[in-house]
């Protein structure tokens, strides 16, 4: 085996479909969450409201117009992503294996600063976070649909405990997604090259690390 004469090389980490759907989802999510906060403010479920600067739409009618327009982008984009992830083995490669033991091991390693970073692969804690946020996304869409169409989709609404329970589930799913986004953006801020690779699809590997164990 001859060694690459270059001191650094690149590996592909994010397929094009994942990069495109990631950024479209980022746009759709920002619209959905900010307009959702404005809608929430019209009839707050809990004793607080969201600050005006964090909302989208200006008033209830504008916010609903945003919410029910951006939902098409969110859902259409998600359908492409899930079709790709399930049919193209992307989910299998990116999110498995995932067992409580692996999560516990990687979490302990991370907390004691011993976690090895492998370019192009997620550790078990990351895998768990991504799987959970995808499930929260599904829950947000299911509860959102039963709020939009509680009569036409009354089976779905009943499955979620009825209109008023679905409202709370919709809020909690949003809260979980926002918590994920905060964690996600914090980690990106700590390791900025992950932002670059979500745009270019490639990650740079120093030659000395090229044979890092998986």
């Amino acid at each position: 085996m001859t060694h690459d004469p270059e001191p650094i090389r690149f590996v592909a980490v994010h397929p094009l479909v994942v990069r495109i759907t990631h950024w479209l989802n980022a746009i759709a999510m920002v619209c959905m969450i900010m307009s959702g906060w404005q809608i929430y403010n019209a009839s707050p479920l809990f004793p607080f409201t969201f600050p005006r600067w964090a909302t989208l739409g200006g008033w209830l009618g504008g916010a609903i117009a945003w919410h029910l327009a951006a939902m098409w982008l969110l859902v259409a984009n998600a359908l492409v992503y899930f079709a790709y992830g399930l049919a193209g083995r992307h989910f299998l490669r990116a999110f498995l294996p995932l067992t409580p033991r692996l999560v516990w091991r990687d979490l302990l390693d991370a907390l004691t600063f011993r976690l090895k970073h492998t370019v192009g692969a997620y550790n078990a804690v990351q895998r768990l976070a991504y799987v959970v946020v995808l499930l929260l996304g599904l829950l947000a869409v299911a509860s959102g649909l039963s709020l939009w169409k509680p009569v036409q989709l009354h089976g779905l609404a009943a499955l979620l405990g009825g209109y008023e329970v679905a409202r709370r589930i919709h809020f909690l799913a949003m809260a979980g997604i926002v918590a994920f986004i905060v964690l996600h953006l914090t980690l990106v801020a700590l390791v900025p090259r992950t932002l670059v690779s979500m745009i270019t699809g490639r990650a740079r590997i120093p030659a000395s690390h090229a044979e890092v164990e998986p």
Binding site: G62, A69, P150
Partner: protein, 252 residues
């Protein structure tokens, strides 16, 4: 000299202008932040583009919802013990501005694509078959409340006046200057009723005396109160909130 101009004399016209201004700025006003967030270099003129896009998406959502609407799908019904007490008052004005209407002289005007335009008195409406329902009223703000309404199935009423049920819309004008409209498929839905009673009693003033349209397959603002006139038409009639940006179909 009686040259003084009273603002109240012009209030209907002022309100119309105000609404038009509100409508123009309304979606747009909220768009500037969206523009800042999403479209680098977005300014107010780009806001117009976003505004038009939002209105177009709302019209698209009307079409999707009318396609999703199943004329046989009934809204869930509830037991008497589930009724929300007190049922919340809701309008675009405060409760003390509720119109006072004399039920003895009140008449329901009927016009548009109908055979019989004879106005209807309360006693004549009560002589028609009546139906009762306990259903959930869902407000566009998100809250909901369960109430009991009774009155004339709207399909029965439309048949009595010889309405052209192939027409697209039924429009309503109300004594509190509110107005709204619904699609014909929803007008013919078995749970759409011209409500005369709330609970066991005639509609109290705050719930829409003497006549309210109860549509459990639509959001609360599509349930006009204090109805004074209705008409069947193929020309889009809009509505008080709809013209400002609420989605027109707003089906549940």
């Amino acid at each position: 000299m009686s040259g003084d101009i009273k603002l109240s004399d012009h209030s209907p016209a002022l309100r119309r202008v105000e609404r038009r201004l509100h409508r123009r700025g309304l979606l747009r006003g909220g768009l500037s932040l969206g523009g800042l967030t999403l479209l680098t270099g977005c300014n107010l003129s780009d806001g117009d583009t976003v505004d038009r896009l939002l209105w177009a998406m709302s019209r698209f959502n009307d079409k999707v919802q009318s396609w999703l609407f199943d004329p046989d799908q009934l809204a869930p019904t509830f037991a008497e013990k589930d009724i929300t007490t007190p049922f919340p008052f809701n309008a675009f004005y405060s409760e003390d501005s509720t119109p006072e209407i004399d039920g003895d002289t009140w008449k329901l005007e009927v016009s548009g694509l109908v055979d019989d335009r004879t106005p209807w008195t309360l006693s004549r409406l009560r002589s028609l078959p009546q139906e009762s329902q306990i259903t959930r009223h869902i407000c566009i703000e998100g809250w909901s409340a369960i109430g009991q309404w009774s009155g004339v199935p709207f399909r029965t009423f439309l048949q009595r006046i010889g309405a052209d049920t192939r027409a697209r819309y039924v429009g309503f004008r109300c004594a509190d200057r509110y107005y709204s409209s619904i699609d014909m498929a929803t007008a013919l839905h078995p749970q759409t009723i011209l409500a005369l009673d709330y609970g066991k009693d005639p509609l109290p003033a705050e719930y829409g005396f003497p006549l309210k349209l109860r549509v459990p397959t639509k959001l609360g603002f599509k349930n006009p109160k204090h109805i004074a006139a209705l008409f069947v038409t193929n020309d889009y009639p809009g509505g008080w909130w709809e013209d400002q940006g609420y989605n027109w179909f707003s089906g549940s």
